[in-house]
């Protein structure tokens, strides 16, 4: 059972948020000139860069007849975590993350439009403070939009946890590093909120069946909130009407 | 990193017993003083500006019989073997490359260095030397003549007593010529170690060691290696480590240029002797073959006579 100290007696969390409150999300599309699409996203202290190349011709071995190959690489900067990482990528965790990213994003991309092609999505975590996967999915979605790749819907990811307050279960939205480290359950959902479908769901630790629905619906609510934020960012970016890519370099 | 399982790998924090000897604890000043005697002569009897000569006896081609071309260079205690293999298609390559490539690998023998045992797996220094060697050789080889192919150059340093990069470049130049790889010019290389206002041409390991230690004062120190195509007056690689001012770099460059030029006739001589030797050898072989054939013919005749008589 997760410790009761995740929520104070006033019902506030360790970092002062309310249980259903997201961390501050700031984002920007088109940060780089060379990739076809790029985005930067900050979710609290978690900072992520995403770049998209493609669609381009797929290598012969990977090529699919009926859809596009989505190639993802998740890598973490060596200085992104509290303790220095020795390898930015190639370890088990980042390979698993790459696979999960691919799953969530393939669900969003209209893959049937580009047979025998490939889209490369590279995600670089600059600073990890919990929820690096969620931030990666959100940033990758923005980068895909910046690259002009047709999507079914926004792919948004959000995590949720469980805490107890006065004997009542209270799901927590958008889990930070401290709450993750406290050892509670973390449910991560990547979904297409506007269609109501789920692309990926993953849970760590133990959660009673009775509370699953509550936590899941809180995470889904979080995805919906994130979609609103991303949508606003995209609209603002397009209203500017002038991205770095439009500046012609000889 | 592949570990060498055939060897008992000591605990990583093991230290050489030499650490506890008196030599090890010498201060910088003591080490510096030891390099020169009172007459300004170096420990091995050379003057400051005198390079170790690469005489005929200590440098030869035709060292490794399996290789297409090979060379052995010995500068007193620095001993280097180089082998060059036939061009082969570049492995794991997707695109066609217009220019042929040179693959270089420098390896220290485990027992080569006086201060520590060399690890089995390639370390950073070996990788850096390989890159420097490749850069020195690339401009000398007519790479457009073998597109999409690569020539492998392997250097094995048997004993390291300073200036191993320049010895490696000289050996590689000889071996490439021995392998009949088309080249624009003979490539030669030389090193200089700088300690304060003194320049040690073709330094030994002890001199290099002192030159790489940073002194307390703000004086110049460092090691420069330069490789040249003397006939074309082109510098193919220049490597500097340490800290020195412009004047020092310029004087060192002039000295190195001269040293590289003096090496050329020696290398030419070795190559010519090698050609003459191999020509003579072939002639001798042919003569022997002729002799043998004649002997056989005589035998045949004898047998035939015997048969006919029988």
């Amino acid at each position: 059972m997760p410790g009761p100290d995740l929520l104070s007696s006033q019902g506030l969390r360790l970092d002062g948020r309310r249980p259903n409150e997201l961390r501050r999300i700031r984002c920007k599309l088109g940060v780089f000139a060379q990739p076809d699409g790029s985005a930067y996203l900050e979710q609290g202290n978690t900072k992520v860069l995403a770049a998209v190349y493609g669609p381009h011709q797929a290598s012969k071995s990977k090529s699919l007849q009926d859809g596009v190959v989505v190639n993802c690489q998740y890598s973490m900067a060596t200085f992104s975590t509290g303790e220095r990482k020795n390898h930015p990528r190639g370890d088990r965790k980042s390979q698993e993350m790459s696979m999960h990213l691919r799953q969530a994003l393939t669900a969003a991309i209209k893959t049937e439009l580009y047979p025998r092609s490939q889209i490369d999505i590279y995600v670089e975590v600059l600073q990890a403070d919990g929820g690096a996967y969620c931030a990666s999915v959100n940033a990758a979605t923005l980068a895909l939009i910046d690259a002009g790749i047709p999507l079914r819907a926004y792919a948004c990811a959000c995590s949720a946890s469980m805490a107890w307050r006065n004997g009542q279960p209270e799901p927590l939205l958008d889990v930070g590093h401290v709450e993750e480290a406290a050892g509670g359950v973390v449910l991560t959902v990547a979904s297409l909120p506007s269609t109501g479908s789920i692309g990926l769901i993953e849970m760590s630790h133990r959660l009673h069946m009775d509370y699953f629905d509550v936590v899941l619906s809180r995470a889904m609510q979080g995805c919906k909130d994130i979609e609103v934020i991303l949508d606003r960012a995209v609209r603002e970016h397009l209203a500017e009407g002038w991205t770095k890519q439009d500046v012609v370099v000889i | 990193m592949p570990l060498d399982y055939r060897r008992f790998n000591g605990p990583e924090d093991s230290v050489s017993y030499k650490r506890f000897t008196k030599d090890y604890l010498k201060s910088y000043d003591e080490l510096y003083k030891e390099l020169l005697d009172d007459n300004g002569v170096r420990k091995d009897g050379r003057a400051l500006s005198e390079a170790r000569s690469m005489c005929m006896f200590f440098a030869r081609t035709d060292m490794v019989s399996q290789a297409k071309g090979s060379a052995y260079v010995e500068l007193r205690k620095t001993k280097v073997v180089c082998s060059v293999f036939d061009p082969r298609e570049i492995p794991h390559q997707n695109e066609f490359s217009q220019l042929g490539q040179i693959f270089c690998e420098v390896k220290f023998a485990p027992f080569s260095c006086p201060r520590r045992r060399r690890p089995h797996a390639p370390d950073a220094e070996e990788k850096a030397l390989s890159v420097a060697l490749r850069k020195a050789l690339e401009p000398t080889v007519c790479r457009h003549l073998f597109p999409n192919y690569q020539v492998d150059v392997f250097i094995y340093i048997l004993e390291h007593d300073g200036a191993c990069l320049s010895a490696a470049i000289n050996a590689a130049g000889l071996a490439l010529a021995d392998a009949a790889v088309p080249m624009y010019d003979i490539v030669t290389a030389c090193s200089v170690a700088i300690v304060g206002d003194r320049l040690f041409v073709d330094p030994t390991e002890a001199e290099e060691h002192v030159a790489t230690i940073s002194p307390e004062t703000n004086s110049n120190h460092g090691v420069i290696t330069m490789s040249m195509l003397s006939e074309l007056k082109q510098i193919s690689d220049f490597t500097l480590i340490g800290s020195m001012d412009t004047e020092c770099v310029n004087t060192a460059m002039d000295i190195l240029e001269k040293e590289c030029e003096t090496l050329v006739p020696q290398i030419q001589k070795i190559l010519v002797t090698n050609v003459v030797k191999s020509f003579e050898q072939r002639q001798r072989l042919e003569e022997e073959a002729n002799d043998r054939e004649q002997a056989l013919n005589i035998k045949m005749e004898e047998w035939r006579k015997l048969l006919n008589a029988g």
Binding site: Q73, T78 | T239
Partner: protein
């Protein structure tokens, strides 16, 4: 570089431009492109900097750890450079694709910082022959738009300038163990003396002339470039201007590319690089000092990648 294809005519255009000292983006041969520099961008690192030189984007984080000094140099700390070429820069770097380039740059940095006249490792000593600081300088290449070496060396110097090392009290206990006491106050820390840290200048030989700060297009027109590392002037990096004018010594010279140069050209290039490095060092010092003063007065607004 990623998908950089230039036709022979475009190359001729660039080469002719360099000959006339008027490059395709309007610069002369000794001009740098505009740069953006911000320090203290990564909160998990002791010091960090992000440098954007036109399209080249570098993020450097410095992490500090406590280590045992090497037996050869008991009174010196350690510094290690690690370069990571992010696949964000080009798909060629995916997996282990960028490793060759990364090793090349980190070797170059290691060599440039080798001499104590470039960076004094004594300031990282905690307790002689027992404990020292080890600096991990992690360089992340996010986008390549030419001239990586210069950008990396600038960003590294800025990140080291920004690095804070906590004060440590060390005492020798019984049995030869060292007892370390760290203060709980994160502001109880010292800054590093990095004024003399070297900057690298790449001189790209195009035609008969050498240009400074080549763009990716210009790099593809050249077969050889000379990289010179030159120590900085510490008086540019401290607020009192009394300290003497130092620096300007070569800590590394290297050649990059398959070509070769004539001795005269190399000498000229080295001198040209020295002049360029001095100017670069001066403006870097000014920018860093200005930023430090601003951050003392008010809490700095962090731009990061949002600008």
């Amino acid at each position: 570089m990623a998908g950089l294809l230039l036709s022979p005519t475009e190359k001729v255009f660039i080469v002719h431009g360099v000959q006339e000292d008027y490059r395709s983006d309007g610069r002369s041969n000794i001009d740098y492109r505009p740069m953006e520099l911000e320090t203290d961008v990564v909160s998990h690192a002791s010091g960090s900097a992000r440098l954007r030189l036109a399209n080249t984007d570098i993020l450097v984080g410095v992490k500090t750890e406590i280590d045992v000094p090497s037996p050869e140099n008991p009174d010196l700390g350690k510094i290690e450079f690690f370069v990571d070429c992010s696949a964000n820069a080009t798909p060629e770097f995916e997996g282990r694709g960028g490793e060759q380039l990364a090793i090349g740059i980190s070797n170059l940095m290691q060599r440039a910082y080798h001499s104590s006249q470039a960076f004094n490792l004594k300031q990282l000593c905690i307790f002689e022959s027992k404990q020292c600081w080890k600096l991990y300088v992690d360089i992340l290449i996010l986008e390549c738009g030419g001239n990586l070496c210069d950008a990396v060396s600038l960003a590294v110097k800025a990140a080291l300038f920004n690095t804070r090392i906590p004060f440590v009290k060390a005492a020798l206990m019984d049995g030869g163990n060292v007892d370390l006491q760290l203060s709980d106050d994160p502001y109880d820390s010292k800054l590093l003396d990095v004024g003399s840290a070297p900057l690298q200048v790449t001189l790209c030989k195009i035609g008969d002339k050498c240009v400074v700060d080549p763009s990716a297009e210009e790099e593809s027109c050249s077969v050889i470039s000379v990289i010179v590392g030159i120590t900085g002037n510490s008086s540019c990096f401290s607020e009192d201007n009394s300290s003497p004018d130092t620096g300007g010594k070569f800590t590394t010279i290297d050649m990059n590319g398959p070509g070769s140069v004539a001795p005269k050209t190399l000498k000229d290039a080295i001198n040209q690089g020295r002049v360029a490095a001095k100017l670069l060092d001066k403006s870097l010092g000014e920018a860093l000092l200005r930023e430090r003063q601003e951050s003392v007065k008010l809490k700095k607004y962090s731009y990061g990648f949002l600008k």
